[in-house]
Every structure is written in structure tokens, then in C-alpha cells.
């Protein structure tokens, strides 16, 4: 029939048009900001720095190794290493970032900084409502604005955060076991160093009584 294609198309349009008034599934609009689409777990927008505990300065995992700064493709991270050290989660004294700036007007959300971080210190946030009228101050995030707690990380990426926590706990257990083993070895060495001194004394004192035993 001539014009069959057009009629089929018009029928589809009419179905959608009338259907959007009567059936809920034909009305696809998500009325932002009252309704929001639930984000999937792998959503990523801009990076943030993870800290453990309550104090963001003391608990920050970042040790200013500057690997993310070197690997960032548009070079939007700027780190200044501290002069002193502070103890990290394993108790080892580490450097920390005195300055950690991310220019989010350049960041392209590629997640390479997250992939290369050896300390699980930088992760991707899901906050996207970041429009600003001030282009210079408002879009250059310093480390205070970037620091967010581990609880926040659990809220936005639960599976990933659980895996990271398990890995860090495993590392802590390993280093604790090593420290305990080292402590035991040191104690045994001290005891062994004390014993020969005692037995040489005994050997020196023994010879008179030695002939008595058959």
C-alpha cells in the first residue's frame, strides 16, 4: 500500500502521545530536582581524598607520593609535599600533602588517579551539582574541600569500599604479625644473649661436683 511506512510511523507517534497521558511507563520524564535517577555504583564525577576516623587532617590516607600528579593526563592535580611526617594507619611515619589542589575546570573524570594510587587515598565522588558563577576560586578545590570520610566512601561505593577496607585490614594484620614476630625474635635474641653468660658461670662452677655423678 502506498504510504504504509508513514502511517506506521504516525501510529507509533500517536501511541506515544496518547499513552503519555494515560500510562505511567510511557511518561519517561524524570522530574529533576524532585525526582532523581538512582546512580549506579560505578558512577564517577570528580576525585576526593579519603580520610579514616574523625579528623580529616590526621586521618588522610594520602602520603604525597605524587604518582597521581604525574599520571593525570591534563595535569590538573598540584601537590606540595610536607616537610615533616605524621604516622599513617600502620603507624609508619609518612609525608602528607601540605597542598593538594585539583582544578575541576580541567578534570576529565578519567579515574586514572584512582587507578594508580597505591594507598587507596583518592577515589571518585558522585557529586555533580557543582555549577558555579565564580570561575577562579570556585573551581579550584583545595585539600580541605577534597577531604571526605571513609563513611562517605562506603555510602557512595559500598562494594568497592568494602573491598578496600578488607585489603587494608589484611595489610594491617600482616604488618602487625610481622611486628609481633620481630618483637618475639628480638626477645628470644635477648634471652639467648643472657643465657650463655649464665651457663658459662655454671660451667665454671661445675667441675668440682662433676666427678660425683656416675
Amino acid at each position: 500500500m502506498l504510504g504504509e511506512g508513514i502511517l506506521k510511523g504516525l501510529a507509533e507517534t500517536a501511541k506515544n502521545f496518547v499513552g503519555s497521558f494515560v500510562s505511567a511507563e510511557r511518561l519517561t520524564t524524570v522530574q529533576y530536582p524532585e525526582q532523581r535517577i538512582a546512580p549506579i555504583e560505578a558512577t564517577r564525577d570528580f576525585p576526593f581524598l579519603v580520610y579514616d576516623g574523625a579528623d580529616w587532617e590526621a586521618g588522610m590516607r594520602c602520603v604525597a607520593c605524587q604518582i597521581c600528579e604525574k599520571e593525570c593526563p591534563p595535569k590538573c592535580i598540584y601537590i606540595v609535599k610536607s616537610i615533616d611526617k605524621k604516622p599513617d594507619a600502620l603507624g609508619k611515619p609518612q609525608f602528607y600533602p601540605a597542598r593538594f589542589d585539583i582544578d575541576i575546570s580541567v578534570c576529565m573524570s578519567c579515574q586514572i588517579c584512582v587507578e594508580v594510587c597505591p594507598f587507596e587515598a583518592i577515589k571518585m565522588d558522585t557529586e555533580f551539582e557543582l555549577s558555579r558563577t565564580d570561575r577562579f576560586g570556585g573551581l579550584l578545590f583545595d585539600r580541605e574541600e577534597l577531604a571526605k570520610s571513609n563513611e562517605h566512601y562506603h555510602k557512595i561505593h559500598p562494594t568497592e569500599a568494602a573491598q578496600v577496607d578488607a585489603r587494608l585490614a589484611g595489610e594491617k594484620a600482616k604488618s602487625d604479625a610481622k611486628a609481633k614476630g620481630a618483637a618475639l625474635a628480638a626477645a628470644a635474641k635477648a634471652a639467648a644473649a643472657a643465657k650463655p653468660a649464665v651457663s658459662t658461670e655454671n660451667a665454671a662452677a661445675k667441675p668440682e661436683g662433676a666427678e660425683i655423678k656416675p
Partner: protein, 203 residues
Amino acid sequence: MVDEGLKIELGKQGVFVTTIEELYNWGRRSSIWPMQFGLACCAIEMIATTMARYDIARFGAEVFRPSPRQADMMIISGTVTKRMAPQVVRLYNQMAEPKYVIAMGACAISGGPFKQGYNVLKGIDRYIPVDVHIPGCPPRPEALLQAFMTLQKKIDGQHLTGEGRPRHLDAEAQGEFPVPVPGEHDLEPASNPGVWTAPVVIR
């Protein structure tokens, strides 16, 4: 400004009270018509915002006008190359006041990931005044809607008289923005100092 409590009381009696400023700003912010101006990948997200799922028409941006003469706002979505920059400024000049600019995406704000490229302009705010910047590469359609709401709040807060009045009510502030000319090594001038003064960052 009318006292809020008085407004509510009168409202209960069926009397609606407002100021001319509120009414004027409400009319302006509820019918911002953007211009069809997509440059690169962010344009795809802008088009997605106009489609059924996110629907920018709910916010008053009913039609995207192709002609700058009929548009109120320009959404710069995508990388502005140095070759395109004079055209962007020319189109901005052709828009009638009041006009607004949203710089959508990293490239429009600062050149983005291509900042050090040989043909990339480091942000369109070098030549025209930008009202709202949306970071992201590309920003989600919801981020563009939130920026739209930020712009609407900005318009709501504008006073019609006095020092901080908007440009279209200030005869001295109006006029054309100079169009950069492609020179031998770069655009001339490299930026418009009346519009853009970068703070010095000590590194």
C-alpha cells in the same frame, strides 16, 4: 520587599501581593530561550537534556532558537577553538539584551583536557562574560539543569535599580564586545581585559 508573614496572611485572604521587581525577574527567569549552539561532545549532553527524559522545557527553555536575534541565552557546549572564537563573540554580539552565557563543560570553562593544544582557546570567558560555569567532561544533563537553576536564582536576585543592576538596564554597560582577529601567531587580543582578569597564582 514585602514582609513574608504579611504576604502569607494576605494570601490566606485571597490577596496576592508582589513587587514589580519580583514579577519582572519571575518573567525573565521562567522563559529563557537558549540558542542552538553546540560545539563538541557537551552538545550531545545538551541535546539529551532537551529530550523527554530530562526535559529542559520544564524550566522554561521551551525552544532552542537557531537565530541569535531571538535567543536569550547561549550554552557554550564544547571546545572553543581559536578559529571558532571570533564567530562565538560575533554571535554573542548579535543577541539582544538581556542575554546570558552558560559555559558547559571543562573545555568551555578553561580549555579542559585540551588546554595546551595549539588551536584551543583556554576558556570562552576570555572574550565574553560568562554567568554560570558547569564543570564536568561532559557534565550530566542533571548538572546542566542545576546550572539552569543557578542562573534562575541569579536572575531572581538582580535588583532593577541602583549600582548592581543588570546590564540591559544600564545604558553605560551595554555595547558590543570586541571580536578577536586571527593574527599571525595567536588571536589578537589574547583576551579581553574588561571581561577577564585572571588572579595571579603563586606556584
